[in-house]
């Protein structure tokens, strides 16, 4: 049962988690550990911190996020991830699509009871 649930979660995360990460970058740039901590609060989204970094690398390659270095008070400079204009546009498109999709999935599950 646990394996089946994991399998469903893995499929659902694809194509969704990247927008959740982008959503956390909408208000301000964040560094990796900070972003991992915030996403990690939602256990169904990020089951291991390390998987965030391939996702960020893909977003960067797709020019949806960019990086910049900032000085830190507590150690070496940190790499911050910032949403690009293209990333904001992609996030807005996802949000506009997600709401009716989410509603329809709920409705279908409810109707099939």
């Amino acid at each position: 049962m646990a394996n089946a649930a994991d399998s469903v979660l893995t499929q659902l995360r694809k194509g969704v988690l990247e927008y959740c990460a982008m959503a956390y970058l909408r208000s301000e740039p964040r560094y990796g550990l900070e972003l991992a901590s915030r996403l990690g609060q939602h256990k169904t989204l990020l089951d291991s911190d390390g998987t965030l970094y391939p996702l960020l690398a893909r977003l960067r390659k797709a020019n949806l996020v960019e990086t910049e270095w900032r000085e830190s008070d507590s150690g070496p400079p940190r790499r911050y991830y910032r949403l690009t204009d293209q990333g904001r546009e992609a996030l807005a498109t996802f949000e506009a699509t997600w709401a009716p999709f989410h509603r329809d999935v709920d409705a279908a599950l409810e109707a099939a009871r």
Binding site: Y31, A36, S48, D49, Y53, L56, K61, G75, R78, R79
Partner: protein
């Protein structure tokens, strides 16, 4: 830039990063570099450069990061799936040369001065080429297996034949000495 003195990361961290680097060998090079940098910074941020950090704390941070294989599985392969053929790299010349060299070394097995260097070259070429995403992996592994077999058999033959040749050399002068 930071002027904080560093003592290097904990050995467990070093081993984890080395494993991750290996696991990402087939990944897109730019993503690979980004992932390694991101994970390295995550570890540095979590643990600092404290090489003497408590093993329990290091293990907890590494467990939170997850297995390197899981991270690598999320990275984009260097070979796009849409263009990857079921029989990849059929035209891969390097692996073909390595395989031909390995078979050639096997053919001239009884001439060790030729077979050993050729087998070594085939083995090194095939193993190094395995790291390339364009490599025909089956051909590379076959070349590695054949050249390794040649080297092992040559070593075994040397072990068996050397005592015989030593006896022949040692026994050669004896009749001459007694004849005089």
């Amino acid at each position: 830039m930071s002027t904080r003195p560093t003592v290097g990361p904990h050995p467990l961290v070093q081993a984890y990063l080395a494993d991750l680097e290996r696991a990402l060998v087939g990944a897109d090079p730019r993503e690979r570099a980004d992932v390694l940098d991101g994970v390295r910074e995550h570890l540095q941020e979590s643990l600092g450069d404290d090489g003497a950090a408590e093993a329990v704390r290091v293990q907890r941070v590494l467990a939170d990061l997850g297995p390197v294989e899981r991270i690598a599985a999320q990275a984009t392969s260097a070979v796009p799936p849409a263009t990857a053929s079921p029989e990849p790299a059929r035209g891969d010349v390097t692996s073909l040369v390595a395989l031909v060299a390995a078979i050639g070394a096997a053919a001239v097995f009884f001439i060790p001065f030729v077979s050993i260097p050729v087998a070594v070259a085939a083995l090194v070429t095939s193993l190094v080429h395995l790291r390339s995403p364009e490599a025909n992996r089956r051909r590379c592994w076959t070349a590695s297996a054949v050249s390794t077999a040649v080297l092992v058999l040559t070593a075994a033959a040397a072990v068996l034949l050397l005592p015989v040749s030593t006896v022949v050399v040692e026994s050669g002068p004896v009749p001459a000495a007694t004849a005089g």
